[in-house]
Amino acid sequence: MKTANIVVVIAVILIASTIYYLNNKKPVTHLVEFTAPFVFGRFIIPPNNPLTMESVLLGKRLFYDPLLSSNNQVSCATCHKQSLAFTDGLKTSVGVSGIPLAFNSMSLVNLMWGPRHFFWNGRSSSLEDQALQPIQHADEMGRNIDELIVDLKNNDTYINLFMLAFGEISAQSIAKALANFQRTLISSNSRYDQYLRGEITLSSQEENGRKLFMAHPDTKVTLRGGNCIDCHSQFLTSGFSTVFDGFSNNGLDNDQTLKAGLFSLTKNEAHRGLFKAPTLRNIAVTSPYMHDGRFATLEDVLAHYNGGIKRSKTLSPLIIEADNIPKTQNDHISLNLNDNEITAIIAFLHTLTDEEFLANSAFSNPFIAENNND
């Protein structure tokens, strides 16, 4: 009798342990492998969200799935189309509400580098934090996360993918998966990259544009410059990553019409009107430009810096100071580039287009591939 009791107790413990183990078993995952240009600099992947193949696969599916929107018609990819370097070609994006949003769709590329604050006004400090915001935004995707989780739990494909990646379906794992897919969106094979690796030589016009891009003008030593480098770093062409160095007021508005920008995050008046300096990778396919999409072409953008700057209290001093002719009128802010120089800078900007990135199947809509297979 006594022995029988012991056996029963042991059996119960074994069964309970097995159930506990199965419920808490960590999925076996595999880290993504890639190499990136050393000159992009170091990057940090959150320790609590390792960059696994399983999470990226899941994230890609979520990214392209309109299930994530309240009307099941809008996916992340609606506003972030691969062929447009994950922008949408609109002045400002339009989501489930049909009401134009306040901002132009930002390109999703090389997100592991550059400013560590996301969105034009920097309101999010991580890709994980950023990921759920558009989903829940009433005008963007308008989705209730709890309801989304219910729907995902009723989908066998997602049940499997979530189990493999995270072992559970939750808001947190949705965010992690989307963040990790976006981390893999690395563009490093444009003509500029090939030039940096010594594989090709730029045309003389492109090279002239590159030099202008990289130079802050200095009339004392007759150094002509486009002043781009002051906000867009040499290799990534994004804003700088130290604290808020990647944000700038580039003279789009005067004090009367200045938008909040970074101020909405920091509540610091010195940050009013400062917006994130975006990457210029693939810039030739991401029109229109600026945080509100006000400029339709690169020529418009250059024209802005070449005489269209509006003064305001937080206007970048680097923009005020940059001029290719000695300052004669304090009120006139212009780079004073000539037409050939403007054309050269635009030619250089076209070397930032990475055709391989824009067509890479690793980043493409998985539903299309599935349908084709069907």
Partner: protein, 453 residues
Amino acid sequence: MNRVLLIGLAIMLFNGCSEATKSSSTSTIAKTEVTSEQMSIENSVVNIEETQAIVLLSGLPTLGTADSIAIIEIDPESNNFGNILYDYPLPKLDAPMHHMYYSPNGRLYATGLGSQCSLAEIGLVRNAKAEPKINKFECLNTNGQNVGEDIMWHSVNGELYMFVTFMGGSDLTQLDAGSVGVFNAQTNEVIKIIEARKSQVAEGQPFIMFPHGISAYGDRMVVTSAVHPTIATEVGNTVTIIDLNTFEPIETIVTEDSKPVGFPSSPVEVLFVRPSIVEGVEPAILVNTMFGFETWKIPYNEQTKTFSTPEKLYDGATAGTGVPLEFYGNEDELFISHGVPGIVKRYDLKQLPNLVSSGEDIKAESGAHHMIFYKTASGRKLIAVQNNLLNLGDAKDNDPTDIDFIAKLNHHSLTVHDLATGERLGEINFKEKYKKGIDNIEALFGSGFTHHH
């Protein structure tokens, strides 16, 4: 191959810093540059591994080790201090790789002291864990030029070139075949080889002997004539000015007035002090003479494009130092390493081209040579000094490539000091820890882009 050279060096060093003797008149030379692009590289990369360095390591034959390129942790506050984080084995070569340089576009190059690989490009990438890895070590075609020393990128009439000094030139059997290779900075192809053998040019015409140090300002470049790589008796005492409009030597200047160890002065590294280094400075060339133990200044008149009579600024023979080697600079100071007794002297950058001390010597170890500047994780500013002249082994180890006297200048160490006080905070002895010698150090990425040597 470098053995004979070292023998000569050894003889001199054994003699110590004897009192200076008066000799013929003199002259000088220099080098280095920070372009706006290089500065922007530094600014553009946050999260740089500031406390990691990339080093060239030499296998020491009797210790069973092989040459490699390694990435090491050099933050004395770190538990990993002195640890090799990554090691990339180099192919077996006839001589060690010697200097590393980043190009303005962030490409990494190394010169080599032999004939098999006197110039190489090193491919650096980052893996998915953000770890730096080397994916390429490609020896470049130098069109027969041997014993690479220094590299400088410089724009001439809007075109960027890579200039490399080859102490051995195209023929190591010749007494004076040293050359300056002009390379396409994008394709690495040789565009021109600048040669002017003393034995072949007319009397009084400019010549180049064993180019080592290199520096440039505008359309004027200066290279030194140091020592023949294989023929111990052949030692230079001049610097040569090259007109970059024509790539032709136009003037040779003697920088020597004494022979403290009985050899010609052997100008080694040069620095063309110019406005991009010190705003408003009157340009001049600074020259370190390896066997003269001196630092010279050659004033340059930018308007007339003429160089004045060299002026000796520092005399190691009387100051108790020898074998001055490298020039390095940061935002505030110029640093000069002296292999004997193993110190780094520091000077106020704003006072250049004159040498006005800005603080106490940094006491490194014998063979004080290359250096980098960086910050610890806590923000403390440091300097790391590589203490090693050339890795030819050590006779005590029965190393057939060793020469005793060189061992005196091969401490095989990296010493880390507080930049402000010079206090030594740590030391890594590569021979003791890894059975290897250390040939060169460069910041992994970022801080190394400030003044190169």
